[in-house]
């Protein structure tokens, strides 16, 4: 069995399933945010008779349009705030406790290896980096899950991607996953599980692993999974407040496809507008002048990402005419960045520091683009209009290229500014 099948088996009353079957699963975490929760709450109220299935297993994070950007988004948040109060939701994150959900849950030890997690947010697949089966669903699914503790899932096929060899300098999890998506396309893993392994993955820290599984959805995948190991255990054991199980795939597990990559061939990547599959190595990028750089998001807003960015921006200035927005993903990331002196580096460079929020990633607020403007972001999507005006452009890259580009004013390789 694959790791995905083992986790599903441990969470379903429908034993003896095979790939393609639809099963009911018992969930460990049901997650929603300020955009998806209001619809889920409506769904919940229309089918619930006796409250939420478990007040500790419902997680609500007001991270998208907060601090509230306008009256309408404040009204949506109020619906969630009132609900959280009425139903005594333990893990409700508001105000100064808000972090970007997919950075926050691992940090708080709420998402654990072996868990089955559903979230009304497509990047819920991030928790696969901890060895969980985590998948995005809609608000109706989430509302029903808050009531019943269950969801329906089709048992997916799995694809395996093995990364071998040493990483080139400035290459991180973001470059590996962009390279993979560039190879298989935005529907290359449609309906399937994307299992990632190999010596290069074992050597990645948890932050870079989470970056990779975060973008599994960008290849259409139902889930991205990296089998937990000692790195995972060291990260999670001090944070977890309940037991967890570290599963791994059997040697004879069945895959619809197995593919290997040699990391020696992978240079830092950039995804061109308007799909994450439009990737190129940095050496193939011509002169692309930028108006804005965003370093943050559930993909690359953790302390490890900020360290990379600050290392490059130290003693440099953001290019004149360019806005560089740094968004620490959680309050703890912001605190650590302050303690390590990274915030001073960013401020000295004339970057803007935003409170933790999804903000500009989805064109919400805190850095929306005008017609004809061009941004490079460490976020996960570059669809038409994603960061603002339908005639603006978003390029995707990791924090090293982003920080370098903020200094030079155009998409640039870190080699250009770091010896």
């Amino acid at each position: 069995m694959t790791i995905a099948e083992k986790i599903l088996k441990s969470h379903t009353p429908d034993k003896g399933f095979k790939q393609g079957d639809i099963i009911r699963v018992d969930i460990d975490i049901a997650l929603a945010n300020d955009i998806t929760a209001p619809i889920a709450i409506d769904a919940f109220k229309s089918c619930s008779k006796k409250g939420v299935f478990d007040k500790d297993k419902v997680v609500l994070v007001l991270d998208h349009f907060t601090p509230n950007k306008d009256i309408a988004s404040a009204t949506q948040c109020k619906v969630v705030r009132d609900f959280a109060k009425e139903y005594h939701i333990t893990n409700f994150f508001d105000g100064g406790e808000v972090g970007i959900e997919h950075a926050l849950l691992p940090e708080e030890g709420l998402a654990l290896p072996g868990d089955l997690i559903i979230g009304a947010d497509s990047h819920t697949c991030t928790y696969g980096g901890l060895g969980a089966f985590a998948t995005g669903v809609g608000s109706t699914d989430l509302g029903v899950a808050m009531s019943t503790g269950q969801a329906w899932l089709k048992v997916p096929e799995s694809m395996k991607f093995i990364f071998r060899g040493e990483l080139n300098r400035w290459v991180g999890g973001k470059d590996l996953i962009l390279y993979l998506i560039g190879d298989i396309g935005v529907d290359g893993a449609l309906y399937k599980v994307l299992e990632i392994e190999g010596p290069a993955i074992s050597s990645l820290d948890l932050s870079n692993r989470l970056t990779m599984t975060n973008m599994a959805i960008e290849a259409g995948a139902k889930a991205g999974i990296i089998a937990p190991d000692v790195v995972t255990d060291v990260y999670i054991k001090t944070r977890a407040k309940r037991d967890y199980t570290m599963y791994e795939s059997d040697p004879d597990a069945l895959y619809s496809m197995v593919k290997e990559y040699d990391c020696a061939n992978i240079e830092p990547q950039v995804a061109y507008p308007h799909l994450p599959e439009n990737t190129r190595g940095i050496s193939e990028v011509g002169e692309i002048i930028l108006d804005q750089v965003v370093i943050g998001s559930c993909t690359n807003g953790r302390i490890e990402d900020l360290r990379v960015a600050a290392g490059i921006m130290k003693d440099n200035k953001v290019a004149r005419g360019l806005r560089c927005i740094i968004i620490p993903a959680t309050p703890k990331v912001l605190k650590a960045a302050e303690a390590e002196g990274l915030i001073k580096v960013f401020l000295d460079a004339c970057a803007i520091i935003s409170p933790p929020t999804c903000g500009p990633c989805l064109g919400g607020h805190m850095g929306v683009l005008a017609e004809g403007e061009r941004a490079l972001a460490t976020t996960n999507r570059n669809f038409t209009g994603r960061m603002g005006h339908p005639k603006s452009e978003v390029y995707l890259a990791g924090p090293a290229i982003a920080a370098t580009s903020a200094i030079t004013g155009k998409i640039s390789s870190p080699k250009e500014v770091v010896a």
């Binding site: 988004s73 809609g138 109706t140």
Partner: protein
């Protein structure tokens, strides 16, 4: 159930930001959302679409975010069903959960032209092009999915059966 309407054609990989841009996600009101349905793919769509019309798109329709606002906007704009070779998986389940009929057919998606008049037999999954006379059979759905559609979506299903 038989659906009938004009075809509105779209390309591959139409994402949920194109179906309903995030700048309108500060509400979930269907009447507001329908005004902006498909806006970043075709700004004229919401003013031209009529009740019963059918979206016929390329592969991976609905990719990107999990926002249920996307199928809500499509349904509220009067669209009776969506036909595509494949759907992104969250959009796929959201549509069934909400009772928006969707059909997977490579041939129908390829051969149907903008403005063709279509008739769709929901139960049989038969798509007829009344302009050319061609008929297409959509990919079959598992029994559970058919149950969801016939119950009228996931909420109605749970209410009726007391379980998922």
């Amino acid at each position: 159930m038989i659906l009938k309407g004009r075809a509105f054609k779209f390309g591959d990989d139409i994402d949920t930001d194109a179906i309903i841009p995030a700048r309108y996600l500060n509400t979930s009101d269907p009447l507001v959302l329908k005004e902006h349905c498909m806006e970043d793919a075709d700004p004229t769509f919401s003013s031209r679409v009529a009740k019963g019309d059918i979206i016929v798109a390329g592969k991976n329709f609905g990719c990107g975010s999990s926002r249920e606002h996307a199928p809500i906007a499509i349904k509220a704009s009067g669209v009776s069903c969506v036909i595509a070779p494949t759907f992104a998986r969250i959009f796929f389940r959201n549509s069934f959960n909400m009772g928006l009929p969707i059909f997977e057919s490579d041939e129908a998606a390829r051969q149907i032209k903008q403005g063709d008049i279509l008739e769709v037999d929901v139960t049989e999954g038969i798509i007829k092009n009344l302009v050319t006379g061609n008929a297409f059979k959509a990919r079959g759905m598992p029994a559970f999915m058919q149950e969801l559609i016939s119950d009228g979506g996931l909420i109605a299903h749970v209410k009726k059966r007391g379980r998922i």
